[in-house]
Protein backbone atom coordinates (compact mmCIF):
# COMPACT_ATOMS: atom_id res chain seq x y z
CA UNK A 1 0.00 0.00 0.00
CA UNK A 2 1.38 3.41 -0.96
CA UNK A 3 0.17 6.23 1.17
CA UNK A 4 1.08 9.89 1.61
CA UNK A 5 -0.23 12.02 4.44
CA UNK A 6 0.55 15.63 5.22
CA UNK A 7 0.17 18.13 7.99
CA UNK A 8 0.78 21.87 8.26
CA UNK A 9 0.62 23.84 11.48
CA UNK A 10 0.81 27.64 11.57
CA UNK A 11 0.24 30.54 13.92
CA UNK A 12 -3.13 32.29 13.67
CA UNK A 13 -3.72 36.00 14.39
CA UNK A 14 -4.30 35.30 18.09
CA UNK A 15 -0.95 33.55 18.53
CA UNK A 16 -2.40 30.04 18.62
CA UNK A 17 -0.87 27.18 16.68
CA UNK A 18 -3.57 25.76 14.43
CA UNK A 19 -3.72 22.94 11.91
CA UNK A 20 -3.96 24.59 8.46
CA UNK A 21 -3.76 21.53 6.32
CA UNK A 22 -4.24 17.93 7.20
CA UNK A 23 -4.45 15.06 4.82
CA UNK A 24 -4.71 11.56 6.16
CA UNK A 25 -4.40 8.58 3.91
CA UNK A 26 -5.01 5.06 5.18
CA UNK A 27 -3.28 3.58 7.04
CA UNK A 28 -1.89 6.91 8.30
CA UNK A 29 -4.61 8.78 10.15
CA UNK A 30 -3.93 12.19 11.69
CA UNK A 31 -6.32 13.28 14.42
CA UNK A 32 -6.14 16.92 15.56
CA UNK A 33 -6.69 17.02 19.30
CA UNK A 34 -6.17 20.59 20.29
CA UNK A 35 -4.99 24.03 19.27
CA UNK A 36 -3.03 26.27 21.61
CA UNK A 37 -0.35 28.85 22.15
CA UNK A 38 3.31 27.86 22.28
CA UNK A 39 3.28 28.44 26.03
CA UNK A 40 0.49 25.89 26.49
CA UNK A 41 2.16 23.33 24.24
CA UNK A 42 0.79 24.43 20.85
CA UNK A 43 -1.22 22.20 18.54
CA UNK A 44 -1.51 18.51 19.36
CA UNK A 45 -2.06 15.93 16.64
CA UNK A 46 -2.26 12.18 17.14
CA UNK A 47 -0.83 9.82 14.60
CA UNK A 48 -2.95 6.68 14.49
CA UNK A 49 -2.00 3.64 12.44
CA UNK A 50 -5.50 2.77 11.23
CA UNK A 51 -4.64 -0.56 9.66
CA UNK A 52 -2.06 -3.06 10.81
CA UNK A 53 1.02 -1.42 9.46
CA UNK A 54 3.70 -1.32 8.34
CA UNK A 55 3.37 -4.51 6.28
CA UNK A 56 5.69 -5.78 3.59
CA UNK A 57 5.05 -3.78 0.41
CA UNK A 58 3.82 -0.71 2.33
CA UNK A 59 5.32 2.64 1.43
CA UNK A 60 4.07 5.20 3.89
CA UNK A 61 5.16 8.80 3.93
CA UNK A 62 4.22 11.78 6.02
CA UNK A 63 5.18 15.38 5.35
CA UNK A 64 4.97 17.86 8.20
CA UNK A 65 5.48 21.61 8.08
CA UNK A 66 5.55 23.85 11.13
CA UNK A 67 5.32 27.54 10.29
CA UNK A 68 7.27 30.38 11.91
CA UNK A 69 6.64 30.64 15.64
CA UNK A 70 4.15 27.72 15.69
CA UNK A 71 4.41 24.66 17.93
CA UNK A 72 3.31 21.12 17.18
CA UNK A 73 3.24 17.98 19.26
CA UNK A 74 2.81 14.94 17.06
CA UNK A 75 2.21 11.94 19.18
CA UNK A 76 1.81 8.24 18.50
CA UNK A 77 -1.00 6.34 20.18
CA UNK A 78 0.05 2.72 20.17
CA UNK A 79 3.13 0.65 19.50
CA UNK A 80 3.49 -0.37 15.86
CA UNK A 81 4.50 -3.80 14.67
CA UNK A 82 6.66 -4.21 11.60
CA UNK A 83 5.28 -7.43 10.05
CA UNK A 84 5.93 -9.32 6.83
CA UNK A 85 3.37 -8.75 4.09
CA UNK A 86 1.86 -11.18 1.57
CA UNK A 87 3.64 -9.59 -1.34
CA UNK A 88 7.38 -9.40 -1.86
CA UNK A 89 9.43 -6.42 -0.76
CA UNK A 90 9.90 -4.79 2.59
CA UNK A 91 7.99 -1.93 4.11
CA UNK A 92 9.11 1.67 4.18
CA UNK A 93 7.96 4.51 6.35
CA UNK A 94 9.31 8.02 5.87
CA UNK A 95 8.63 11.22 7.75
CA UNK A 96 9.85 14.63 6.58
CA UNK A 97 9.56 17.53 8.97
CA UNK A 98 10.34 21.17 8.17
CA UNK A 99 10.27 23.77 10.91
CA UNK A 100 10.49 27.48 10.16
CA UNK A 101 12.13 30.16 12.33
CA UNK A 102 10.95 30.18 15.91
CA UNK A 103 8.85 27.07 15.32
CA UNK A 104 8.87 24.00 17.54
CA UNK A 105 8.15 20.37 16.79
CA UNK A 106 7.96 17.44 19.17
CA UNK A 107 7.51 14.01 17.64
CA UNK A 108 6.89 11.35 20.25
CA UNK A 109 5.85 8.04 18.71
CA UNK A 110 5.30 4.83 20.65
CA UNK A 111 7.79 1.95 20.21
CA UNK A 112 8.21 0.05 16.96
CA UNK A 113 8.44 -3.71 17.41
CA UNK A 114 10.49 -5.41 14.72
CA UNK A 115 9.04 -8.89 14.30
CA UNK A 116 11.02 -11.83 12.99
CA UNK A 117 10.16 -11.69 9.31
CA UNK A 118 9.91 -7.91 8.96
CA UNK A 119 11.94 -6.04 6.34
CA UNK A 120 11.39 -2.47 7.37
CA UNK A 121 13.06 0.79 6.47
CA UNK A 122 12.29 3.85 8.58
CA UNK A 123 13.48 7.28 7.51
CA UNK A 124 13.13 10.47 9.48
CA UNK A 125 14.37 13.72 8.03
CA UNK A 126 14.12 16.92 10.07
CA UNK A 127 15.13 20.30 8.67
CA UNK A 128 15.14 23.19 11.11
CA UNK A 129 15.51 26.90 10.46
CA UNK A 130 18.23 28.59 12.53
CA UNK A 131 16.02 29.41 15.51
CA UNK A 132 13.67 26.38 15.33
CA UNK A 133 13.48 23.77 18.08
CA UNK A 134 12.83 20.06 17.96
CA UNK A 135 12.51 17.03 20.17
CA UNK A 136 11.98 13.57 18.77
CA UNK A 137 12.44 10.06 20.05
CA UNK A 138 12.56 6.56 18.67
CA UNK A 139 12.16 3.30 20.56
CA UNK A 140 12.99 0.10 18.73
CA UNK A 141 12.07 -3.27 20.19
CA UNK A 142 14.05 -5.98 18.45
CA UNK A 143 11.56 -8.83 18.32
CA UNK A 144 8.65 -9.70 20.58
CA UNK A 145 9.57 -11.58 23.74
CA UNK A 146 11.89 -14.45 22.83
CA UNK A 147 11.69 -13.62 19.12
CA UNK A 148 14.57 -12.79 16.76
CA UNK A 149 14.12 -9.44 15.01
CA UNK A 150 13.80 -9.27 11.24
CA UNK A 151 15.57 -6.76 9.02
CA UNK A 152 15.44 -3.11 9.95
CA UNK A 153 17.21 -0.03 8.70
CA UNK A 154 16.39 3.13 10.60
CA UNK A 155 17.86 6.40 9.35
CA UNK A 156 17.69 9.83 10.91
CA UNK A 157 18.89 13.02 9.33
CA UNK A 158 18.77 16.32 11.19
CA UNK A 159 19.88 19.69 9.86
CA UNK A 160 19.66 23.17 11.29
CA UNK A 161 20.18 26.12 9.00
CA UNK A 162 21.59 23.71 6.42
CA UNK A 163 24.25 22.38 8.83
CA UNK A 164 24.12 18.64 9.58
CA UNK A 165 23.64 17.94 13.28
CA UNK A 166 22.98 14.23 13.14
CA UNK A 167 23.09 11.53 10.47
CA UNK A 168 22.32 8.21 11.93
CA UNK A 169 21.61 4.83 10.41
CA UNK A 170 20.96 1.90 12.66
CA UNK A 171 20.64 -1.74 11.66
CA UNK A 172 20.35 -4.45 14.31
CA UNK A 173 22.17 -6.87 12.03
CA UNK A 174 22.64 -10.56 12.62
CA UNK A 175 22.73 -12.24 15.99
CA UNK A 176 26.54 -12.11 16.19
CA UNK A 177 26.57 -8.37 15.69
CA UNK A 178 23.68 -7.79 18.11
CA UNK A 179 25.61 -9.67 20.79
CA UNK A 180 28.83 -7.69 20.27
CA UNK A 181 29.57 -5.24 23.07
CA UNK A 182 30.31 -2.54 20.54
CA UNK A 183 26.93 -2.77 18.83
CA UNK A 184 24.06 -3.69 21.15
CA UNK A 185 25.67 -5.83 23.81
CA UNK A 186 22.65 -8.13 23.65
CA UNK A 187 20.13 -5.35 24.49
CA UNK A 188 16.61 -5.86 23.07
CA UNK A 189 15.54 -2.22 23.25
CA UNK A 190 17.32 0.76 21.70
CA UNK A 191 15.87 4.16 22.48
CA UNK A 192 17.05 7.56 21.29
CA UNK A 193 15.92 11.08 21.96
CA UNK A 194 17.16 14.13 20.10
CA UNK A 195 16.68 17.57 21.63
CA UNK A 196 17.52 20.78 19.80
CA UNK A 197 16.35 23.51 22.14
CA UNK A 198 17.68 26.77 23.55
CA UNK A 199 20.44 25.31 25.70
CA UNK A 200 22.66 22.26 25.18
CA UNK A 201 23.66 19.89 27.97
CA UNK A 202 27.02 18.74 29.29
CA UNK A 203 27.80 15.09 28.49
CA UNK A 204 26.39 12.63 31.00
CA UNK A 205 27.30 8.97 30.99
CA UNK A 206 25.83 6.02 32.87
CA UNK A 207 26.17 2.28 32.24
CA UNK A 208 23.09 1.90 29.99
CA UNK A 209 22.51 5.45 28.76
CA UNK A 210 24.36 8.59 27.73
CA UNK A 211 23.34 12.17 27.09
CA UNK A 212 25.60 13.37 24.30
CA UNK A 213 25.91 16.96 23.08
CA UNK A 214 26.25 16.92 19.29
CA UNK A 215 29.10 18.76 17.58
CA UNK A 216 26.88 21.18 15.66
CA UNK A 217 24.37 21.76 18.49
CA UNK A 218 21.55 19.79 20.05
CA UNK A 219 21.92 16.51 21.90
CA UNK A 220 21.29 12.80 21.50
CA UNK A 221 20.36 10.49 24.33
CA UNK A 222 21.17 6.84 23.64
CA UNK A 223 19.63 4.12 25.78
CA UNK A 224 20.20 0.36 25.61
CA UNK A 225 18.04 -1.81 27.85
CA UNK A 226 16.27 -5.14 28.05
CA UNK A 227 12.74 -3.68 28.12
CA UNK A 228 10.74 -0.59 27.17
CA UNK A 229 9.77 0.33 30.73
CA UNK A 230 13.43 0.76 31.72
CA UNK A 231 14.20 2.54 28.44
CA UNK A 232 11.46 5.09 29.10
CA UNK A 233 12.80 5.62 32.61
CA UNK A 234 16.33 6.23 31.28
CA UNK A 235 15.05 8.76 28.75
CA UNK A 236 13.32 10.55 31.63
CA UNK A 237 16.57 10.54 33.63
CA UNK A 238 18.39 12.12 30.72
CA UNK A 239 15.69 14.80 30.39
CA UNK A 240 16.03 15.52 34.10
CA UNK A 241 19.68 16.59 33.64
CA UNK A 242 19.11 18.40 30.34
CA UNK A 243 18.97 22.18 30.91
CA UNK A 244 15.92 22.44 28.61
CA UNK A 245 14.35 19.16 29.75
CA UNK A 246 11.67 20.94 31.79
CA UNK A 247 10.37 22.72 28.68
CA UNK A 248 9.65 19.52 26.77
CA UNK A 249 6.17 18.02 26.81
CA UNK A 250 6.28 15.35 29.53
CA UNK A 251 5.93 11.75 28.42
CA UNK A 252 3.62 9.79 30.70
CA UNK A 253 5.39 7.12 32.72
CA UNK A 254 5.16 3.60 31.39
CA UNK A 255 2.08 1.61 32.31
Amino acid sequence: MKSTASLTVELDGAGNSVVRRLRSMAPLTLVPRRRGSSATGGAVVHLVGSATSPLGGDDLSLRVRVGAGARLLLRGIAASLALPGHGPGGSRGSIDIDVEDGGTVEYLPEPTVVTSRAEHRAELSVRLADSARACFRETLVLGRSGEEPGGLVSSTSLERGGIPLLRHTFEPGRQRLRASHTHLGGARVLANEVVVWDRDPEPRSEADWALQPLAGGGSLTTVLTADTVTARRRLAEARAVHPSGGELTPVEPAE
Binding site: P164, Q212, L224
Partner: protein, 236 residues
Protein backbone atom coordinates in the same frame (compact mmCIF):
# COMPACT_ATOMS: atom_id res chain seq x y z
CA UNK B 1 58.39 -12.58 -18.14
CA UNK B 2 57.85 -9.27 -16.34
CA UNK B 3 57.45 -9.47 -12.59
CA UNK B 4 53.93 -8.71 -11.31
CA UNK B 5 53.49 -5.15 -10.01
CA UNK B 6 52.53 -4.82 -6.41
CA UNK B 7 49.04 -3.34 -6.11
CA UNK B 8 49.35 -1.95 -2.59
CA UNK B 9 51.38 1.23 -2.22
CA UNK B 10 54.18 1.68 0.28
CA UNK B 11 52.32 4.72 1.63
CA UNK B 12 49.32 2.50 2.48
CA UNK B 13 51.53 -0.05 4.18
CA UNK B 14 53.36 2.64 6.15
CA UNK B 15 50.13 4.21 7.40
CA UNK B 16 48.64 0.88 8.44
CA UNK B 17 51.86 -0.10 10.24
CA UNK B 18 51.61 0.18 14.01
CA UNK B 19 55.04 1.84 13.94
CA UNK B 20 53.63 4.82 12.04
CA UNK B 21 54.13 7.58 14.63
CA UNK B 22 50.56 8.89 14.59
CA UNK B 23 49.81 8.24 18.24
CA UNK B 24 47.36 5.37 17.70
CA UNK B 25 49.00 3.33 20.48
CA UNK B 26 47.36 5.62 23.07
CA UNK B 27 43.84 4.50 22.06
CA UNK B 28 42.01 1.27 22.80
CA UNK B 29 38.83 2.10 20.86
CA UNK B 30 36.53 1.31 23.79
CA UNK B 31 38.28 -1.95 24.64
CA UNK B 32 39.67 -0.74 27.97
CA UNK B 33 36.17 0.12 29.20
CA UNK B 34 34.86 -3.26 27.99
CA UNK B 35 37.67 -4.97 29.91
CA UNK B 36 36.79 -3.01 33.05
CA UNK B 37 33.16 -4.04 32.68
CA UNK B 38 34.27 -7.64 32.40
CA UNK B 39 32.65 -8.12 29.00
CA UNK B 40 35.99 -8.81 27.28
CA UNK B 41 38.33 -11.09 29.21
CA UNK B 42 39.81 -13.46 26.64
CA UNK B 43 40.54 -13.96 22.97
CA UNK B 44 37.05 -15.25 22.11
CA UNK B 45 35.36 -12.12 23.46
CA UNK B 46 38.04 -10.01 21.81
CA UNK B 47 37.11 -11.56 18.46
CA UNK B 48 33.44 -10.59 19.01
CA UNK B 49 34.42 -7.09 20.10
CA UNK B 50 36.55 -6.59 17.00
CA UNK B 51 33.86 -8.02 14.74
CA UNK B 52 31.36 -5.48 16.08
CA UNK B 53 33.88 -2.66 15.94
CA UNK B 54 34.78 -3.40 12.33
CA UNK B 55 31.14 -3.41 11.21
CA UNK B 56 30.31 -0.22 13.12
CA UNK B 57 33.03 2.35 13.74
CA UNK B 58 35.39 0.63 11.27
CA UNK B 59 32.89 0.77 8.40
CA UNK B 60 32.06 4.40 9.19
CA UNK B 61 35.74 5.38 9.25
CA UNK B 62 36.38 3.46 6.02
CA UNK B 63 33.60 5.38 4.26
CA UNK B 64 35.14 8.73 5.17
CA UNK B 65 38.72 7.66 4.46
CA UNK B 66 37.66 6.50 0.98
CA UNK B 67 35.68 9.70 0.37
CA UNK B 68 38.61 11.87 1.49
CA UNK B 69 41.02 9.90 -0.73
CA UNK B 70 38.67 10.31 -3.68
CA UNK B 71 38.35 14.05 -2.98
CA UNK B 72 42.12 14.54 -2.63
CA UNK B 73 42.74 12.62 -5.85
CA UNK B 74 40.24 14.59 -7.92
CA UNK B 75 41.26 17.93 -6.35
CA UNK B 76 38.56 19.73 -4.39
CA UNK B 77 38.23 23.32 -3.15
CA UNK B 78 39.31 23.72 0.49
CA UNK B 79 35.72 24.18 1.77
CA UNK B 80 35.09 20.55 0.82
CA UNK B 81 37.16 19.59 3.87
CA UNK B 82 34.87 21.56 6.17
CA UNK B 83 31.87 19.75 4.66
CA UNK B 84 33.43 16.33 5.21
CA UNK B 85 34.42 17.35 8.73
CA UNK B 86 30.87 18.46 9.63
CA UNK B 87 29.35 15.33 8.09
CA UNK B 88 31.62 13.03 10.08
CA UNK B 89 30.86 15.02 13.23
CA UNK B 90 27.14 14.47 12.55
CA UNK B 91 27.80 10.71 12.31
CA UNK B 92 29.73 10.68 15.59
CA UNK B 93 27.23 11.52 18.34
CA UNK B 94 29.50 10.57 21.28
CA UNK B 95 31.75 13.52 22.22
CA UNK B 96 34.41 11.08 23.49
CA UNK B 97 34.59 9.45 20.06
CA UNK B 98 34.87 12.79 18.31
CA UNK B 99 37.71 13.75 20.65
CA UNK B 100 39.49 10.41 20.08
CA UNK B 101 39.13 10.74 16.31
CA UNK B 102 40.50 14.27 16.32
CA UNK B 103 43.38 13.36 18.66
CA UNK B 104 44.45 10.55 16.33
CA UNK B 105 43.86 12.83 13.35
CA UNK B 106 46.17 15.43 14.84
CA UNK B 107 48.92 12.89 15.49
CA UNK B 108 48.60 11.37 12.03
CA UNK B 109 48.59 14.80 10.41
CA UNK B 110 51.80 15.76 12.22
CA UNK B 111 53.60 12.58 11.18
CA UNK B 112 52.07 12.72 7.70
CA UNK B 113 53.25 16.24 6.98
CA UNK B 114 56.83 14.99 7.07
CA UNK B 115 56.20 11.57 5.56
CA UNK B 116 53.67 12.31 2.82
CA UNK B 117 53.34 16.08 2.33
CA UNK B 118 50.81 17.44 -0.13
CA UNK B 119 48.90 20.62 -0.84
CA UNK B 120 45.63 18.86 0.01
CA UNK B 121 47.02 17.97 3.44
CA UNK B 122 47.98 21.60 4.09
CA UNK B 123 44.53 22.75 3.00
CA UNK B 124 42.87 20.17 5.23
CA UNK B 125 44.95 21.42 8.14
CA UNK B 126 44.20 25.07 7.36
CA UNK B 127 40.42 24.52 7.06
CA UNK B 128 39.77 22.12 9.93
CA UNK B 129 42.64 22.74 12.37
CA UNK B 130 42.33 19.40 14.06
CA UNK B 131 40.89 17.02 11.46
CA UNK B 132 39.20 13.65 11.99
CA UNK B 133 41.48 10.62 11.72
CA UNK B 134 39.78 8.96 8.70
CA UNK B 135 39.86 12.19 6.71
CA UNK B 136 43.60 12.64 7.35
CA UNK B 137 44.30 9.05 6.34
CA UNK B 138 42.22 9.56 3.20
CA UNK B 139 44.04 12.74 2.22
CA UNK B 140 47.51 11.26 2.92
CA UNK B 141 46.81 8.34 0.60
CA UNK B 142 44.55 10.03 -1.96
CA UNK B 143 46.90 12.91 -2.66
CA UNK B 144 49.78 10.56 -3.50
CA UNK B 145 50.59 8.73 -6.68
CA UNK B 146 48.62 5.58 -5.88
CA UNK B 147 45.06 6.74 -5.60
CA UNK B 148 43.01 3.81 -4.51
CA UNK B 149 39.99 4.59 -2.32
CA UNK B 150 39.58 0.84 -1.76
CA UNK B 151 43.11 0.42 -0.33
CA UNK B 152 42.66 3.56 1.75
CA UNK B 153 39.39 2.20 3.13
CA UNK B 154 41.02 -1.16 3.85
CA UNK B 155 43.87 0.52 5.74
CA UNK B 156 41.38 2.55 7.75
CA UNK B 157 39.16 -0.45 8.54
CA UNK B 158 42.27 -2.38 9.58
CA UNK B 159 43.38 0.46 11.87
CA UNK B 160 39.97 0.39 13.55
CA UNK B 161 40.64 -3.15 14.81
CA UNK B 162 44.43 -3.46 14.97
CA UNK B 163 44.74 -0.77 17.65
CA UNK B 164 42.18 -2.37 20.01
CA UNK B 165 43.78 -5.80 19.38
CA UNK B 166 47.20 -4.63 20.55
CA UNK B 167 45.56 -2.80 23.45
CA UNK B 168 44.10 -6.20 24.44
CA UNK B 169 47.60 -7.61 24.74
CA UNK B 170 48.52 -4.89 27.21
CA UNK B 171 45.22 -4.86 29.11
CA UNK B 172 44.61 -8.59 29.39
CA UNK B 173 48.11 -10.02 28.98
CA UNK B 174 46.62 -11.85 26.02
CA UNK B 175 48.80 -14.07 23.86
CA UNK B 176 49.90 -11.74 21.03
CA UNK B 177 49.48 -14.57 18.51
CA UNK B 178 45.83 -14.94 19.50
CA UNK B 179 45.16 -11.20 19.44
CA UNK B 180 46.72 -10.98 16.01
CA UNK B 181 44.73 -13.99 14.79
CA UNK B 182 41.51 -12.26 15.92
CA UNK B 183 42.38 -9.44 13.50
CA UNK B 184 43.35 -11.60 10.53
CA UNK B 185 40.22 -13.73 10.99
CA UNK B 186 38.33 -10.64 9.83
CA UNK B 187 40.22 -10.19 6.56
CA UNK B 188 37.34 -11.15 4.23
CA UNK B 189 34.95 -8.84 6.05
CA UNK B 190 37.53 -6.04 6.10
CA UNK B 191 37.93 -6.32 2.34
CA UNK B 192 34.17 -6.36 1.79
CA UNK B 193 33.72 -3.26 3.96
CA UNK B 194 36.56 -1.53 2.10
CA UNK B 195 35.00 -2.37 -1.27
CA UNK B 196 31.64 -0.98 -0.13
CA UNK B 197 33.30 2.18 1.15
CA UNK B 198 35.08 2.62 -2.19
CA UNK B 199 31.72 2.40 -3.99
CA UNK B 200 30.39 5.50 -2.21
CA UNK B 201 33.71 7.41 -2.23
CA UNK B 202 32.53 9.90 -4.87
CA UNK B 203 29.20 10.71 -3.21
CA UNK B 204 28.36 14.18 -1.93
CA UNK B 205 29.46 14.40 1.73
CA UNK B 206 25.83 14.73 2.88
CA UNK B 207 24.84 11.44 1.25
CA UNK B 208 27.72 9.32 2.52
CA UNK B 209 26.48 6.29 4.47
CA UNK B 210 26.07 6.52 8.24
CA UNK B 211 26.62 3.55 10.55
CA UNK B 212 25.81 3.68 14.19
CA UNK B 213 27.18 1.59 17.06
CA UNK B 214 25.11 2.56 20.09
CA UNK B 215 26.90 0.30 22.58
CA UNK B 216 30.32 1.61 21.50
CA UNK B 217 29.05 5.17 22.02
CA UNK B 218 28.08 4.24 25.59
CA UNK B 219 31.47 2.57 26.18
CA UNK B 220 33.33 5.60 24.84
CA UNK B 221 31.40 7.97 27.11
CA UNK B 222 31.90 5.72 30.15
CA UNK B 223 35.60 5.47 29.39
CA UNK B 224 35.87 9.27 29.30
CA UNK B 225 34.09 9.53 32.65
CA UNK B 226 36.27 6.88 34.31
CA UNK B 227 39.40 8.30 32.72
CA UNK B 228 38.57 11.62 34.38
CA UNK B 229 37.48 10.18 37.74
CA UNK B 230 39.94 7.32 38.26
CA UNK B 231 42.50 7.53 35.49
CA UNK B 232 42.83 5.00 32.73
CA UNK B 233 45.73 3.55 30.76
CA UNK B 234 44.40 4.58 27.32
CA UNK B 235 43.04 7.92 26.11
CA UNK B 236 39.95 6.20 24.61
Amino acid sequence: MTPAMSTVSLATLALADSRFPGGGHAHSGGLEEAVHRGTVSGSEQLAEFLHGRLHGAGAQAAVFAAAAAHAAARGVPPDHWSLLDAELDARTPAPAQRAASRAQGRGTLRAGRSALPSRALDELHATTGSPHHPVVVGVLLGAGADRSPADTAAAMAYLSISGPASAAVRLLGLDPFEANAAVTALRAETERIAAEAARTAGHRPGSLPATSSPALDLLAEQHQRHHREEGRLFAS
